[in-house]
Symmetry: D2
Subunit: 308 residues, 4 copies
């Protein structure tokens, strides 16, 4: 931690902060600059919060952490890439994993037909939402357990693995009975009760766009996050070009860019008839469009020593 004192801080205030730091089990290292003093607090104390609270002490301007507070997922403790096995699929390996399917499960015909089509084109994991975290309570909320059963049926029929979103701690038991990968949506990234319930080290990161001022795409695909995550974390990283861009025509170029950037896989929205999709029609591909995307991806994979 670096505690930066105000320019007008007195000697007593600086000494008071140093004492506090010591009392929390850290060693203070004051640096007396031209106009202000900054104090480094060094040590392995377990009292980050107490140091942070020094922001409330007289004469303190700010308290800044130097070290990023993620240990378990960082390369510092585990330098080699993690692989995550889902049946025969291995994320984080030379296998490039394509997860595809509709935004929402709507009917047996829809999900089974989609599973067959995306499997034929090279996808190995089926996606489909049974619970939909819609902003408006007036919007469609998903088929719920019925949707989970349809996903499991499509899995039986095609031999694919299944990935679906879970929204509450209570849903977890039911959802994991029918599916293989549990997806946490952006709206639940800080739903700590859900995260605790799911807590297991087999985590797949997904770049699905960030919120920006750009309005011509739904979100902004932060493609540089892929190599950056590969540097600082050992977890596999997949890219969702459908959700990130919100535009069907951008899925193909972004899928190729994801391969080039070093992604371990893709998530793509596919629907038998996008204009009648119950959600996200504008970004869903037809079966034929998905085939074209996969053709492009297949050409790029060898350059990155990857294969489907």
């Amino acid at each position: 931690m670096i505690i930066s004192m105000k320019p007008e801080a007195t000697k007593e205030q600086i000494e008071h902060v140093c004492e506090k730091i010591r009392s929390y089990g850290y060693i203070p290292h004051p640096i007396y600059g031209e106009t202000r003093t900054v104090i480094g607090a060094v040590g392995s104390g377990n009292n980050r919060a107490a140091l942070q609270a020094l922001e409330g002490a007289p004469g303190v301007e700010s308290v800044v952490a130097i070290r990023q507070p993620f240990k378990l997922v960082g390369r510092e403790l585990k330098p080699q890439k993690s692989t995550i096995r889902v049946g025969e699929v291995v994320l984080g390996s030379h296998q490039f994993v394509v997860i595809a399917g509709p935004c929402s499960v709507e009917s047996r015909e829809q999900i089974v037909a989609t599973a067959r089509a995306v499997r034929a084109a090279g996808a190995t994991i089926l996606r489909g939402g049974a619970y939909k975290p819609r902003t408006s309570p007036y919007d469609f909320q998903g088929l719920e357990e019925e949707g989970l059963k349809l996903l499991a049926e499509a899995r039986e029929t095609t031999g694919m693995r299944v990935c679906t979103e879970v929204m509450t701690p209570e849903q977890v038991e039911l959802v994991e009975r029918y599916t293989d990968i549990l997806q946490v949506g952006a709206r639940n990234m800080q739903n700590f009760a859900l995260l605790k319930r799911l807590g297991n080290p087999q985590v797949i990161l997904c770049e699905r766009g960030i919120r920006t001022f750009e309005t011509m795409t739904r979100n902004t695909l932060d493609i540089a996050a892929v190599p950056l995550l590969n540097e600082i974390s050992h977890l596999p990283v997949v890219v969702d070009p459908s959700h990130a861009t919100g535009k069907r025509s951008l899925v193909a170029p972004m899928a190729k860019a994801a391969v080039a950037a070093g992604a371990d896989g893709l998530i793509v929205e596919v629907h038998p008839n996008p204009e009648e999709a119950w959600s996200d029609g504008a970004q869903s591909l037809t079966f034929q469009e998905f085939e074209l995307v996969m053709e492009g991806v297949k050409k790029y994979l060898p350059l990155e020593q990857k294969h489907l």
Copy 2:
């Protein structure tokens, strides 16, 4: 809904969209412009989602909702301001309601002493966190049920009402046993399972800062949201200048600005000894500082026909 067609959309595509609109129970109103056609969809159908899905239809550029999708909280259906009664306190009335207390409940001494001090200065509702939604799992997570009991004890001692944050549907039963107002934090604004569990029409809106590129304050207090919400919604609106700014010295001017902007009340962080607060020390006021804030507020209230 306004469906905007692409400039190159064909007659057949426009007619296809019009037919779809009719099939969903709405009436299409195409407007043929110089370079493109836009189609208004009018009616009281319950099929917003189907209209939205037309974004996936050939020739469609975008689908935009004209009407804001909030009905129950809008002034259109309920023009007069709502009042919410919490014991003798009435939010949304001429009473200006001050909610004050520490970020986290830390001990009996801390919460009872704070309750006494803020009550003496004019606050009528005590705040204090028993569950803390901290980003880092390594940080302090709150005293949990023990904290709730201490809040209830402070309530007994002082006669104040109590407001505290709830984070999961399961906590609700326990939390409402000990407290009067259940607070939903920013991180749970889209935790739909929690929102459904809490669902009741007695909602108090709180402006506690929005995320912006400004870095000198913790968040940006969107003070214009107060009169704006007063125009479009009938719900009471309170302002949290502590959390919004993250800086002790800004609480007093922002509290006065909130009164001037028409707020129904304030939430203010107060701690017996901010430099040792377990969370949010930099923005917590001492008892004496809180008294000064209340002095300023009291001078402004008569100009807005309000009183404590």
Copy 3:
């Protein structure tokens, strides 16, 4: 400057950085932490850029400046508030200065009538755009010199002072011939050639809204910027509630909030007939609406020891 080394940085890399720091005239203060080393660079060298370039040195993770790079406008060097005199008007004093007028100068009748009306209601400085920095080249660009002459005429007629926007270094000579305060718009905040041409220490800061994700107002009025600027800078601060909110109905509450927050003045858009304004009609007040705003402001001023 704080130079933070990567966790895997070698002793040689750390020593190399320390040497570089010395060679630029600063003293390195390394702090050896558990997982990484940070190096403070202390001294009055004039080589900030060279220190910053150490971001490119092997083993360096980041270089962060502790001191904010504004000296001349800071309270550190000049603790007392600056006052700026424009005729009888004194910004930064107990006088609360109201600048009012149309977005664009459109005609003699329009600007003279507006000047009379706003003067009668308490404004002392007339605003009006002669050059308009419009995003689209197809939009109205202002009356240019003709507009400046009309402003000067309105000044003659009413005795008000005049404030108008200047967009290029070449315009400065002409604009200052006709007007008293030269306004720099948000689009030119980093137009360094213009800023250099204008360079003089009599600067008035204006909070006119920042860009955020909130869409119900044009910009977000960052009202906390007012007391914050009053803490760190000695310059006068005015608030523009018209441009910041983009909504006529929000001008009155935001004008009062600005007084409560400690502003030195206001800029308000007023137009004889907003629905026919050539720009910014939605946020312009009629003469009568402006009078009501000023009534509210006048009631608040005594609480802040200010007067018109």
Copy 4:
């Protein structure tokens, strides 16, 4: 334009708006919905600003433009891709154009050595800043005309073409005497005086990162902008992975992603000794690192039917 009336708008207000629309040379098409009326304004009138001003009319809620206000650069009027010739280099063709060089021109040795190195690796255009738009007046501002002369000398020596930033209308004459492509930085994107002075149809678009909340990269490379611009505009698009990410290690993967996304070229920062670069050291590549980037790019180009 779509003029959306408030729910409580009266018949008279609606009719008043329709009359205004007619008086400006457009045809009003009101659509009477369940809760509100929206009015489409159709026609080729040249009075967009007058329609926009209706936001100020009684009963109007908002005025929204349906058509994007860019005509000259859109595919609607010019469907085929534009090519821009700079000597033997042709942007917008099957030639993939690599622009490389230091952030700032610092000395003859630096710029000539860099030109030779990047040319050998496949770059055809040299970049280098002679005028630097630095936020702080205390920072290095560029070698100015001396820098331009050094760029011209490097051009003589290597046969490369030269690209450099121009910041004011006055600089244009001097800068175009020494260089081939004039670059407009992000800070000058709305410096209309500069844009007018430069006005010519041979424009190259550059994606160099957008401002977002992501802090681990300098900006966020909006890679989806490349195929999006290729859809809506006929202008060539290049990508600057150095400036967009601010991190040397991300330049290689982002350069490949740019090829995959359909870019027409790249701009890359290269410096003989990044740790002593006068600006942007953290993102500059050494000569050897640049060679490796180019090796990756060369492997990808054939997949997109491009060549150096």
